[in-house]
Symmetry: C2
Subunit: 612 residues, 2 copies
Amino acid sequence: MYHLRIENIKNHLTANENEVSKVIGIDKINIKDLKELIDSPEAQVYKDECRKFLQKEPSFTTNFYNLDPINYKELVLKQISSIAKNGIVRFTDVRDNVYRLTSAFEIFSMYNNNITTKMGVQYTLFGGTITLLGTQRHEKYIAPADVLQIAGCFAMTEIGHGSNVRGIETTATYKKSTQEFIINSPTPTSQKFWIGGAGLHAHYATVFAKLIIDSKDYGVHAFVVPIRDTNSNQILPGITIKDCGQKLGLNGIDNGQIKFDQVHIPRENLLNKFSDVAADGTYKSAFTSPIKNFAATMAPFVVGRLGISKVNSGASKSALAIAIRFSHVRKQFGPTENNELPIITLSSQRQRLIVPLSKTIVLDLFQQKLAKDFTLEKVPSTIHAQCSGVKALYSWECIKTLQVCREACGGQGYRASNRISEFKSDVDITATYEGDNTVLMQQVAKFLLAQKPQTNLPLVRLVKPADLFNLPKILDLFRYRTELKVDQLRGLLKSSSEKNAYLAYNQLIPWGQSAANAYMETIILENTMQFIKKKLVQPLPHFCYIDTLSKIQDDLAWFISNQFISVELANSIPFILMDLCNQLTPHLLDIVEAFDIPKKALPVEDLISDLF
Amino acid sequence: MYHLRIENIKNHLTANENEVSKVIGIDKINIKDLKELIDSPEAQVYKDECRKFLQKEPSFTTNFYNLDPINYKELVLKQISSIAKNGIVRFTDVRDNVYRLTSAFEIFSMYNNNITTKMGVQYTLFGGTITLLGTQRHEKYIAPADVLQIAGCFAMTEIGHGSNVRGIETTATYKKSTQEFIINSPTPTSQKFWIGGAGLHAHYATVFAKLIIDSKDYGVHAFVVPIRDTNSNQILPGITIKDCGQKLGLNGIDNGQIKFDQVHIPRENLLNKFSDVAADGTYKSAFTSPIKNFAATMAPFVVGRLGISKVNSGASKSALAIAIRFSHVRKQFGPTENNELPIITLSSQRQRLIVPLSKTIVLDLFQQKLAKDFTLEKVPSTIHAQCSGVKALYSWECIKTLQVCREACGGQGYRASNRISEFKSDVDITATYEGDNTVLMQQVAKFLLAQKPQTNLPLVRLVKPADLFNLPKILDLFRYRTELKVDQLRGLLKSSSEKNAYLAYNQLIPWGQSAANAYMETIILENTMQFIKKKLVQPLPHFCYIDTLSKIQDDLAWFISNQFISVELANSIPFILMDLCNQLTPHLLDIVEAFDIPKKALPVEDLISDLF
Ligand SMILES: Cc1cc2nc3c(=O)[nH]c(=O)nc-3n(C[C@H](O)[C@H](O)[C@H](O)COP(=O)(O)OP(=O)(O)OC[C@H]3O[C@@H](n4cnc5c(N)ncnc54)[C@H](O)[C@@H]3O)c2cc1C
Ligand SMILES: Cc1cc2nc3c(=O)[nH]c(=O)nc-3n(C[C@H](O)[C@H](O)[C@H](O)COP(=O)(O)OP(=O)(O)OC[C@H]3O[C@@H](n4cnc5c(N)ncnc54)[C@H](O)[C@@H]3O)c2cc1C
């Protein structure tokens, strides 16, 4: 049983299975085609523009990693100014051109994640609230924000409340006599915290606060609040700002703590796309309940989460490129003392780099689908759950990928000038900000619980070797798995002794997470298959098989115990995975080439020749 | 099948299984007993001394995290000086008192890992080479090194060679006429790199170089080379030193790059415990082959690896304490809007903290066994493989634990003053230095391949619920698994088409790693069981069950597909694990208390009250 070798499997495969023959051997990789696949036809022009800009723009220096926090923040400000002034992205892109905006996130994240975090604040968070929650009366901010004459920030999180936004304490009390809102931080924990841009550079904040009219609480709404004078940069009266201090990473971002002491703003500063307060204090809302209004108010986050996952895409690709190129030139050990071999010849090194590489590409293609969803006449109702899910999955995957790449480069991965370490420290927080991953996966689970159970799904089993390469069959199986896991969760919730739905669910979060994961894996596979069908670009099938088989392996006990896969087949997976990795190995440098990472974003290939 | 609930399982269990009844419910935790268990009777006095010292010694400041690299290095020097001057550890401890030395690693690592890295360099690496590879003629270094009048470093790694130490290029050529060795860096890649202490503070280096006598290469030997004047601190002639630059972490350590330009040292500076060169150039060795001499030369690493895993122990415990305490005071969400609950009430939060907590304790107990091994009359021959294995496992586990703890604290985990982030950046390299983990796991695999196959092991199956709590049975199963995995590896190696053993093995590294892992998990379980037997300190059985069941879960597909566990039982594991976590939850703060972490090492409990 243990000796089932890949050779045997291959013999089975090549005989008469169509699907499979694609897998065996890759002739040559067409770098241009692969680049187009990864870039996407819709976004390639924007990405190429960003690449060119990044490479030539002097503010994108290459020795940022040892700047002190003050100079780092100045540098990042310079960089975002040059992006704005050159019109690389526009303030309205979050609403009008998701392709351009997310392309910039991806490419600039290949270089550094401070700049893309600052972009996220200005363009998706501040920009998103102004353009998606505001109305005509807020258009006056667009032109100056577009050229960074005004910088904005997004003040939602408070010291006391992060994930539970509905629990925030900041108040916006309507004062009829002057037609103003009074923004106030009533308690120490109500102080806004972590607000990117607030520390030094932002002139305006979109502040999330509880709307109070005549002592009645209407729930969380967003308001535009000037916090610094646009000319002098002086902090305005009634506002106290402190720096959030040294962080694990992102020390080029000026995160700030804001305290509002009865700050008056005009009535028009309420972002009133969905709800408004008339001069006389009458409240009008497009929604029947505060919770629906609240949900609509969170809309900018949907694009934002895609944006974060683009940060993960850029950082993962650079780290993989660094580790893969290094592994081709770094020699260590060999069959004889005088014949050391490149470490890419080691099976462990191949596997640990190729599995995350495959996952990265497959996730990238899923992002392309989501970006397209935003351009559709009717944005699909799945978009919120899927953007949340991909943000959580990609950020966790990216954190793991960066760790593997760091270790794969040995000690040299630890040297700041070799870049991976900076990515690691910066990217770490993508698991938390714009929605904590554990919380987001529950949003996916809750979306699934709200769906009608599907009862007519085909029931398949993987039994013969070719089944492991039969993607439609695996997709059916993944669908079935999702359904079973959601069904199990429903059953567990029902049999819970807790009357309160919140408490019942809280005992079962890991089960919700498992169902959410199964769902995400299903739609990701579905999407990759559609790409393969549209145009077979090599080595996309390899990426898809490696990604999918490694997912099956991660949940293998479940598949075996439910008899969805035969034991013999299950035992062959490690061999097949290794064989696929071996087949991909000769093409790794071409694949990395197809990422088309601007030269400036990468350290010297061998990670050591700068030392001589 | 999915609805098998823990309640049912409990009913099964309590009936008549002795082993199991221990598990259900924990009355109360005796903090003193638990502290003694974790500290170990042999080491407690040393650990308590370190705790007291750390808490009162002013150089152990609490705001090191935002120091610039220069001041950080000065601070760490001050700290190690105070340790030396107060006799907290002794230069000879690596040889004479492993308990004291490793206790210091553990406790000071609860505070910061720069200081313990610097200690590692001075005491285990420099100290280890002098005391374990030197002879009487090198005792002159001991007294001044003991009070840090001389600081040392350990110069093994070169730019071109890290893991493959036998490939280093530095030469030590014997010059008969003057009875000297000439230490030289013949190529750019032969420059020593990463040498901790070399950057600023070290006066002496133990340099690993190829011994050349009359043009004949005798392989790698270790030499004491003065590199700085002990009075003036000036770098000595022929030696060029550069700083290794900014790193992901450990920026309080002065890692340096050293180039030797024909540096003459007296013949006596060869560390000649195993091999020597007589005045006339005659080479004498206790070993018949250079490879055996080389293996003996690596001896200091054995203690060193235990030391590194103590760093992991200290850092993991502090991070867990921070995240667990935070989870008890941080409230977010709740059954109603005005009734927010502490996040420890969330099943996901419990599980993600309690599983690594259990692993940490169980690994700590295994370290105690290894420390004791060093004190035995005849140090067991397993010590090398087991120290290598535990270094790899604990460092990987610690990296995961720190990641989980960071995320579990949400955004506050990212703030440097809340400490976890500093641990993360520093500890990251424990996967690489003093032996890259992937390489170390292969040393374990090779040790296993060299053992005689065991053919008479009992074959057991887990079929009834109580079996999951039957530790002797699980231990038998773990033993069997190790044997099967080693056997599979042997079979694969035999059937490999590669003639060259190196190349054959390199295709199978992941299989070697899996066997090594199975072995380590076996001996760790065996060890924990011995502790439980000796004295039942609560909640050690819980830690053991949670650790063991989560290990079974990690390899569950293997257990199921080989029919070592019934499907029904396999499906119950997630429920049982959650139940065990729920049972431990009320005791978490007591458990953390038993770590007895010096107050100075921990941030404010809620991670926010320093902001007001
Ligand atoms: C560098 C940085 C930049 C940021 N920038 C901004 C910004 O510009 N503007 C802004 O408004 N905010 C910003 N944030 C805040 C960020 O969005 C929050 O940190 C995030 O929403 C999480 O909230 P929290 O930190 O309060 O964690 P908490 O919500 O307190 O969560 C703590 C822990 O509890 C767990 N948890 C909480 N609720 C649940 C649940 N229901 N189920 C399971 N687990 C749960 C979480 O998984 C987490 O591990 C930033 C944060 C950082 C660190
Ligand atoms: C902060 C820091 C402090 C240090 N302090 C010291 C010190 O004081 N003195 C000293 O001498 N050294 C020191 N080192 C060096 C350290 O010991 C080396 O980094 C380590 O031995 C790994 O060597 P390398 O970096 O050359 O990686 P390489 O050996 O080049 O390894 C690169 C990659 O290849 C993989 N690899 C290599 N060989 C194999 C194999 N056979 N099988 C599978 N995978 C393989 C590894 O897993 C790794 O991922 C330090 C390093 C750092 C980063």
